[in-house]
């Protein structure tokens, strides 16, 4: 009897599993199509406007390109060998790396802090969000003008504030040791884009998780590390990748603060990779070398992002995950 029952139940289970699998596949396909539809505008734009340019720049990187005659004499790997031999490439890379290591964690922490503050605001939250987002809308040139005053070593507001608590502030813009921190400060000013992503992620964390944790006696710090951070880990991961790429490409803040008239700190300390690339292309007309620089930067960022993805996948919680 039991055997008969088992035998008749097996095909039913198998049919049910099959039906579920078909449903899941359909669902997955629908979800995938929606995903493709969402990225289609970017993908089409990339194919039309960027891919050709990228391929052309790759070609240029193996040539000595002459703008006047629009000719490109092949030079093999000479530009790439030149990169390895140019001390300023190494210096610019070191400066950029130092900045990235300093800036990215601080941007994440500061943006998350602001987002958590805004998430708690009930009355007038729209006004506060707008105010906090305004720096992102301000042109970099205007921001740089303000920071030139804020960071003034004698009378700037930052040093005045430090003086009020008994700290003698540095010559931010002139002392080579403070060049990168001053750029980081200016970068932090525009952190509101990252903040908005965190704010959206924080709004998606279920409230009942906090209520349960609170009943179990978890304090705010424990709740932050055990609930908030894991639940927004996807947003953290995304922001780390985006900010790392942006940090390696930093240009306008550096150029405006230090390369505008070369009167501040010795520009060796402010020679960033993107600045040197710009100098090579548009001041020295060394387009092949500049293209090689761009491709090396692209490859570095690609490897770095792949590592981040590999490492990040161990820690990131995706709400939509199905095993």
């Amino acid at each position: 009897m039991t055997q008969q029952l088992t035998a008749s139940a097996e095909p039913e289970d198998r049919q049910r599993d099959l039906a579920r699998a078909v449903k899941r596949r359909k669902y997955n396909r629908r979800e995938a199509l929606a995903g493709y539809a969402f990225i289609a505008p970017w993908a089409i734009g990339f194919l039309i406007f960027s891919l050709g340019t990228m391929i052309y720049s790759l070609v240029i990187s193996f040539t000595n390109y002459n703008l006047a005659t629009n000719t490109a004499a092949p030079v093999g790997f000479a530009n790439y060998r030149g990169l390895a031999q140019d001390p300023l490439v190494r210096q610019s890379l070191e400066n950029t790396l130092f900045y990235a290591v300093l800036a990215v964690p601080l941007e994440i922490i500061f943006a998350l802090f602001l987002a958590m503050l805004l998430a708690r605001v009930r009355r007038g939250s729209g006004v506060f969000r707008t105010l906090y987002y305004l720096p992102k809308m301000t042109p970099t040139v205007a921001t740089a003008s303000i920071f030139l005053l804020l960071l003034n070593g004698n009378t700037g507001a930052i040093n005045r504030a430090l003086r009020a608590i008994g700290i003698s502030g540095p010559q931010w813009l002139i002392d080579p040791n403070w060049v990168k921190p001053s750029i980081v400060l200016m970068t932090l000013w525009g952190v509101s884009g990252t903040m908005v992503i965190f704010l959206a992620a924080l709004k998606n964390v279920p409230r009942d998780l906090y209520e349960v944790a609170s009943i179990d006696g978890a304090g705010p710090v424990r709740q932050f590390f055990s609930i908030t951070v894991p639940m927004i880990s996807g947003a953290i991961f995304f922001n780390v990748i985006v900010l790392t790429i942006a940090a390696f490409q930093v240009f306008d803040q550096v150029y405006l603060l230090f390369w505008r008239d070369n009167s501040n700190a010795s520009p060796d300390s402010a020679l960033f990779y993107a600045v040197y690339l710009f100098e090579q292309a548009f001041r020295e007309f060394n387009f092949g070398f500049a293209a090689a620089m761009a491709w090396i930067l692209f490859l570095m960022l690609l490897v770095l992002t792949l590592i981040q993805v590999k490492v990040g996948n161990r820690f990131v919680y995706y709400e939509g995950d199905r095993s």
């Binding site: 004698n154 002139i174 520009p267």
Partner: protein, 460 residues
């Protein structure tokens, strides 16, 4: 590899090969800049549309000159279109590469040779000669020197606004000093004067003795004190003993006033273009400035007491340099004839007279004194100066006259294919020395090495 991957790889490789083929087949190009100029008859009757980029026509002088030149070309039926955005190196190269080439471009005179060496602009000897203009008599020698390279003149220069030292007589007299104490040919005397005028408060400067405007005037400080920037071929020659001495003198000047960092941070707070500028507030005893700065100060003549003293070389002779602008014609200009004739018209006596009339009309409205138009052309300068009336403020009139006294003493800027990079490397060296990071010898050696690498890049 599945079928889809194979298609993607094949397409990419195909595109790469196509791009390579396109790249190498484009070699026949448009020829070099000299042949473009040789094939042009610059005295022919101009026609069509002229696309001008970056001409600074925002003020009364610019508008009047533009109106005059437009009227001249309109007689031949030429329509002039202006792109008033500022010159930008990246935009210029992008426009050249894309074929969207302007016919005439205004740029810094100092950058002209860089573009000439790349073959991106054409020599204008024929433009001058076929229109019966002799640049050697039209302009001051330093003005033509700025845009001359390999015995060819590459631009139609405009303006020559020499640098000199503006002195705040209030600060000077309070320290018991006279103009004679502000003497760059006598460094001990100058340093003593600086120390007498310098005041600090809370460790920061409150009155400077002398603002040398070092990084903004690297050529004045080096060339003025007997140094050298390039050799006769335009290759950098920065690591000389004379340059070291000039840089050392500059370091002494900044060190006598709290050091470069304090000095620079203080001057950054000056209301340079405003009503509370450093001369109104007596924040500086003396300062290196170009000729246009008295014009900025002209509304405040009742609140300030300034005069001009020349920058002197080691022999005590007045010297000056000026970083002005010029019109160039890109090699691929579609209308070089109209471009040439427009540039010459903008720089003609008629154009400057129109500018003078417009400036006088503006001054009549504001009541400000006339600080002069420094055109880069001695004959025009003489006529315009004779037409202008003194303001009645003896000190301010002396300040204006001081620039007229030195306008003929200019030294040409170094004409080098790597001019932009040489200037940047020199500025780096200056900052490095003044902030105490390097000795003058080490900083100039590094600048020489960096500039030489750039020179070799642009001339290879």
């Amino acid at each position: 590899m599945n079928r889809w991957h194979a298609v993607v790889v094949a397409t990419s490789v195909g595109a790469l090969l196509a791009a390579t083929a396109a790249c190498s087949s484009s070699g026949s190009g448009s020829g070099n800049s000299s042949s473009a100029a040789k094939n042009t008859n610059f005295s022919a009757k101009p026609s069509g549309t002229l696309n001008s980029w970056s001409f600074d026509n925002a003020d009364d002088v610019g508008k009047a000159r533009m109106g005059y030149a437009d009227a001249q070309l309109k007689k031949s039926g030429v329509t002039v279109k202006y792109d008033q955005t500022s010159f930008d190196a990246q935009k210029f190269t992008t426009r050249l590469a894309s074929g969207d080439v302007p016919d005439v471009v205004q740029m810094d005179a100092q950058d002209v040779i860089t573009y000439a060496a790349q073959g991106l602009i054409m020599p204008l000897n024929k433009c001058y000669s076929q229109n019966n203009v002799d640049p050697s008599t039209l302009f001051y020698p330093a003005v033509t020197g700025d845009v001359t390279w390999k015995n060819q003149i590459w631009a139609v220069p405009q303006f020559y606004q020499p640098s000199a030292i503006l002195v705040d007589e209030n600060v000077l007299q309070a320290a018991g000093l006279t103009n004679a104490d502000i003497d760059t040919s006598n460094m001990p005397r100058l340093l003593a004067a600086i120390k007498k005028m310098y005041k600090s408060s809370g460790g920061n400067p409150s009155t400077l003795g002398f603002d040398p405007q070092a990084t903004g005037n690297v050529y004045l400080w080096l060339l003025g004190l007997g140094g050298q920037v390039t050799d006769k071929n335009g290759a950098p020659a920065l690591d000389s003993a004379a340059n070291e001495a000039a840089l050392s003198a500059l370091k002494q000047i900044t060190d006598a006033q709290g050091g470069y960092a304090k000095l620079k941070s203080f001057t950054d707070t000056f209301d340079f273009f405003g009503a509370k500028n450093q001369f109104v507030k007596n924040q500086v005893g003396a300062e290196v400035d170009a000729q246009w700065y008295p014009n900025v100060l002209s509304p405040y003549t009742k609140q300030i007491k300034i005069q001009t003293v020349p920058f002197k070389n080691k022999s005590g002779q007045p010297v000056t340099v000026s970083d002005d602008t010029a019109f160039v014609i890109p090699t691929k200009s579609k209308n070089p004839v109209a471009a040439c004739q427009w540039a010459l018209a903008v720089d003609s006596m008629g154009s400057w007279k129109a500018a003078e009339a417009a400036r006088n009309a503006t001054l009549a409205k504001t009541g400000s004194p006339n600080t002069g138009l420094f055109t880069g052309e001695p004959a025009v300068d003489k006529i315009l100066r004779a037409d202008s009336k003194p303001s009645g403020n003896a000190d301010f009139d002396q300040a204006v006259q001081g620039f007229y006294d030195i306008v003929g003493d200019g030294i040409a800027l170094p004409a080098s294919p790597a001019g932009q990079e040489i200037q940047t490397d020199l500025q780096n060296a200056f900052t490095s020395v003044l902030t105490g990071q390097s000795s003058p010898k080490d900083a100039l050696a590094k600048a020489q090495s960096d500039a030489m690498r750039a020179y070799q890049n642009v001339t290879k």
